[in-house]
């Protein structure tokens, strides 16, 4: 199984790759983890991971700046329906539109928009940074074996708000509900960083590596 972690100059690629390698080894899976920005590799991969840190607009511009990468993603994720995992802004990019630094068109895989966090309690700081408890919504294969209340590591100022509530699989409370995981069909993403979320993160990654959507 070939897993492509997409390198478009965003996110902690090394740390993400290490956590995927570890999760694969721990689950006895034979996975080849490659950090790559090569559209040919991405189009051929069995599973796709898209990290991302920074502003939505900048990440989207970064993705588009690599010739053929967007098309390769469409080929692998939409045409071939390969399992896809987005992390942080990589998850937000699945949306139709991002509202950071003006409006930016997303990949449009899940209807909805990425908007600024606005906690009801003015004492809560932006960015939302640190550990927070997951509230699971519905049952998704990627959360098999995860209990409500387990905590994950967040760093973000914007959140993905899917139009269809059925596309939300986990939330956290931060002066109101904040989307922690969203997914539909073969695409899934977490606002939190599974690579920084210790055992919980490794568990979700292992579930992803075994996922047959």
């Amino acid at each position: 199984m070939k897993v492509a972690i997409i390198d478009y100059g965003s996110g902690n690629l090394r740390s993400v790759a290490k956590s995927f390698e570890r999760a694969a080894v721990d689950s006895g899976l034979n996975a080849q983890i490659a950090v790559t920005g090569d559209p040919g590799e991405v189009a051929k991969a069995d599973r796709i991971v898209l990290p991302g840190v920074g502003a939505f607009a900048d990440c989207k511009a970064g993705l588009e700046s690599v010739d053929g990468l967007h098309d390769a993603l469409t080929e692998a994720v939409i045409n071939k329906a390969r399992p896809f995992f987005g992390i942080c802004v990589g998850m937000q990019l699945m949306a139709d539109v991002g509202r950071e630094f003006g409006n930016t068109e997303g990949l449009g895989w899940i209807k909805g928009e990425v908007t600024a966090l606005s906690p009801s309690d003015p004492g809560l700081k932006i960015p939302h940074m640190g550990w927070n408890d997951l509230r699971l919504v519905g049952e998704h294969t990627l959360f098999d074996g995860i209990k409500a209340g387990e905590h994950a590591y967040f760093v973000h100022s914007y959140q993905f708000v899917p139009t269809n509530a059925d596309d939300v699989w986990a939330q956290v409370e931060y002066g109101g509900p904040v989307t922690a995981a969203a997914g539909r069909d073969n695409v899934f993403g977490t606002q939190f960083h599974p690579e920084k979320s210790q055992a919980l993160g490794l568990h979700i990654i292992a579930n992803f590596l075994k996922w047959k959507p």
């Binding site: 902690n12 790759a17 840190v53 920074g54 900048d58 760093v155």
Partner: protein, 249 residues
């Protein structure tokens, strides 16, 4: 992990300073271009460059030497020293530097880093130089009252390409790096962390690799290479982790 051989530039020459003091400079090579070529010939994947005069003067000083390095280096180059405005960032990136390292300005004006990451996504790194856990600035002549972790955290969600962490109490002293402090920082944030300062032997590199393989992006070393304690090819091989393709190459 990536091994970054360092070239510190002072008056157009490759030097190393002791504890960051400009009058404690030792010249190792008077041709920065040749030095870069030697590193690349030994298999390095990146080169780390510091414009020392620039750091003290707050503007680019060694542009000719950097041009010489860029024309010889077939690998990406990161550069820091005196970068405090957008024009200077653009000045270096336009010349072919892959990413720039912001130091003093990151502490003085964190919003500048946010804006720089917006304008130059993936090409901004932040240098966090610390002494006893607190950030040092102005070419290490001053120590602030902000902790290294606090500063690094400010940039966690803005898309900084890397935090380059230097323990200045150790730099150039050949006493070994402060592994514990470096790894604590790397574990605490999601931004890639590159260790710098005090790496003086292959044993130091091995210790950093063994303990930091899951969390560290790479290691910078300068003086130990010039002293002969670290061979670039051996260092690159040692830090390479089998089975994983490195990022950004």
């Amino acid at each position: 992990m990536i091994f970054f051989p360092a070239i510190d530039l002072k008056d157009g020459q490759c030097v190393r300073l002791l504890r960051g003091e400009m009058d404690q400079a030792t010249v190792f090579n008077d041709s920065p271009g040749n030095q870069a070529k030697a590193f690349v010939d030994e298999g390095c994947e990146w080169i780390h460059v510091v414009d020392l005069n620039g750091a003290f003067e707050g503007k680019p000083v060694n542009a000719d030497a950097v041009d010489a390095i860029l024309s010889e280096a077939k690998v990406p180059v990161e550069l820091g020293g005196g970068i405090r405005d957008m024009d200077t960032i653009k000045f270096w990136l336009d010349r072919g530097v892959r990413r720039v390292i912001l130091g003093t300005i990151a502490l003085r004006d964190p919003d500048f880093v946010v804006e720089a990451c917006h304008q130059f996504h993936g090409q901004i790194a932040v240098g966090v130089d610390a002494k006893d856990g607190f950030v040092a600035v102005e070419g290490w002549a001053e120590v602030s009252d902000i902790s290294a972790l606090e500063l690094a955290r400010k940039f966690e969600d803005v898309g900084v390409a890397a935090i380059i962490f230097t323990d200045i109490a150790r730099d150039g002293l050949m006493q070994g790096p402060n592994i514990e402090t470096t790894l604590d920082l790397a574990r605490a944030i999601s931004t890639p962390v590159i260790a710098s300062g005090g790496v003086s032997s292959m044993d130091d590199l091995k210790a950093l690799r063994d303990q930091g393989v899951d969390v560290l992006e790479g290691v910078i070393s300068g003086r130990a290479i010039y002293d002969g304690a670290i061979n670039v090819r051996d260092a690159v091989d040692l830090l390479k982790v089998p089975g994983m393709q490195e990022a950004g190459l």
